[in-house]
Symmetry: C2
Subunit: 333 residues, 2 copies
DNA sequence: CTGTTAGCGCTTTCAA
DNA sequence: TTGAAAGCGCTAACAG
């Protein structure tokens, strides 16, 4: 392993000088700079990020905690963060929290022990207090998909309630009056908010939500199929279905067809998230756009700006969902 | 930041002793061990992985290089690797190579500068020679999705040719004789091999591949739609379509429907990979199973075994694809 | 503009 | 079983 010593010796300069040419900041005469660079070349020198981190107390890496490493939603999130950070030669360390408090805390500790310069967190199970305490520990954090009053400027969130409202409204405007709801885990904030928005839309139409037509899924495709089957089994007719996310909507579509329903004629479906493949299911899914990519990029900018003094974009904390109308909602006259 | 010094002071023992209780290996009397652990508790000590890495010349992290951080295929891969490694408290550092030689090399350097203990590489653009040279540099590597004779024991791959063969065969057995092919980028090994398998199946039926019915896509959904449209525009009729992967198949399905074709009656489609959502498109996609999860887990085991001396599973280098028959292929009589 | 010199927090001989 | 001390490769004052 060739070190900075080898380089300094070969170039005939001091350690410090080599360090200076590596970290472009300080001025070094062109001549010495060139000598050093040549020495690095010839030796095939590769700086040791570990040693650098220890000495500078900065790892040039940001920890990213998300619920899962797979799935279209988190995939987009990771991709957006990594792309943005990479431009500044900053590294992302991803960890999965699996929507479980213990695992989330574990992952945070993991990231912290790695001495990340900042943390971008999409955590669901951990309490607000935990995050407040974490924030107080010193490592800058930015929270995605959650609103914490005391950490307002560090939270980047979507207006989920409005999203739920838009989804229901699109069904209501198409003339649907009995609408089933395929929710995500009810303990999750976004599930609750989306559901609240749904209820608000119903209320505007003087309708009340039929609790028998609510199914609690887990945001995965499979729960979309079991959900639809359960809902059908209730025996209470419904002409439309609002889903907590697109994956469950896709599952529900498959199950509905299996049950002999024609889509969208017999059943209108609306999703949530607007993941990449929602345009490729049949019928093309009408859904609510969740601008994950933009939100993830915004979280990254927060870090770039507050931690690395880079990029002077202004921070937008709350994003608005929008309805993406496609073919899965049938107008009922 | 509380350090090992603080702990040693509080516990009234030396640095070395604290280090010993952290790294369970050496023997420490129960009494002192307890004292130290209590001190750690009280101080809220969290070991500094960076410092540990510098001192021990081991980072307890493995670098994972994949083409993209999103998409169902890579998502599964990351997930499988992280899950496996986490059991041993080893960290995964993911980087994207974007199927571009320069970016792949860049990512490798990035991972190397991070002093990963090993590298798991799914690289497409970089040459075999580059990988051989990299391997010679000392950091253990295992290569996914590629066969390099000189690195045979470190390669975990799928028999893509056989996969292409199975896909074509399933179409041929259903009575199709004019089959279009929606390929991935032709410069990629797997694309070529799958296509070779396709040709072999045709040959068995005394058929030759009609080059006009070959379209080169990019493995993304969108190229599935443009691909199908192009293929249709050729004017040469075909009753079936084999796709380089499931994403393109999904895109092709959407485009086919758009063009007024009934699926699967007017056009039979077979995919490749068997990604999670292939069961949720309509009609359910018949495809070739790519056991990514198992293969990624196998790569991880290789690392666990050769680098960390853990887990004594035997290594399987070549995996076999299997046909997953669903509803997208129509029997033609 | 360049060199000297302490560390950063931990591991690891080597003695005791 | 425990402690002392020498680094690991690099940064960051502080001089010069």
């Amino acid at each position: 392993m060739v070190t900075i010593y080898d380089v300094s010796e070969r170039a005939g300069v001091s350690l410090a000088t080599v360090s200076r040419v590596m970290n472009k900041n300080a001025r070094v005469s062109d001549k010495t700079k060139e000598k050093v660079q040549r020495a690095m070349e010839e030796l095939g020198y590769r700086p040791n990020a570990i040693a650098k981190g220890l000495a500078s107390n900065r790892s040039n890496s940001v920890g990213v905690l998300i619920s899962e490493l797979h799935g279209p939603f988190y995939g987009m999130m990771m991709s957006a963060i990594e792309t943005e950070l990479r431009k500044y030669d900053i590294h992302s360390i991803f960890a999965a929290g699996h929507s479980d408090a213990a695992k989330e805390e574990d992952a945070v500790n993991f990231l912290l022990s790695r001495r990340c310069d900042a943390l971008i967190l999409y955590v669901e199970a951990v309490s607000d207090e935990f995050l407040e305490a974490l924030n107080a520990q010193g490592t800058p954090i930015v929270v995605l998909g959650r609103d914490i009053k005391s950490l307002a400027t560090q939270c980047i969130n979507l207006d989920n309630e409005q999203g739920g409202y838009l989804a229901a409204k699109c069904l209501l405007e198409a003339g649907h009056r009995s609408i089933a709801y395929l929710a995500g885990p009810l303990w999750k904030h976004d599930t609750q908010e989306r559901l609240a928005g749904h209820r608000r839309a119903l209320a505007e139409y003087k309708l009340t939500f039929d609790e028998r037509l609510l199914y609690e899924g887990d945001f995965q495709e499979e729960s979309g199929v079991s959900g639809l089957n359960q809902l059908l089994a209730v025996g209470e007719p419904f002409s439309a279905l609002a889903c907590g996310n697109d994956e469950m909507a896709a599952g529900a579509m498959a199950a509905a067809r299996e049950a002999g329903l024609a889509l969208p004629d017999d059943l209108s479906i609306v999703g949530f998230d607007n993941v990449a493949y929602s345009r490729f299911v049949f019928p093309k899914l009408s859904t609510v756009n969740y601008p994950v990519r933009d939100m993830a990029a915004m979280a990254t900018h927060w870090v770039l700006r507050h931690v690395y003094d880079q990029g002077r974009l202004s921070i937008e904390n709350t994003f608005s969902p929008q309805l993406v109308g496609r073919d899965s909602v049938h107008r009922r006259d």
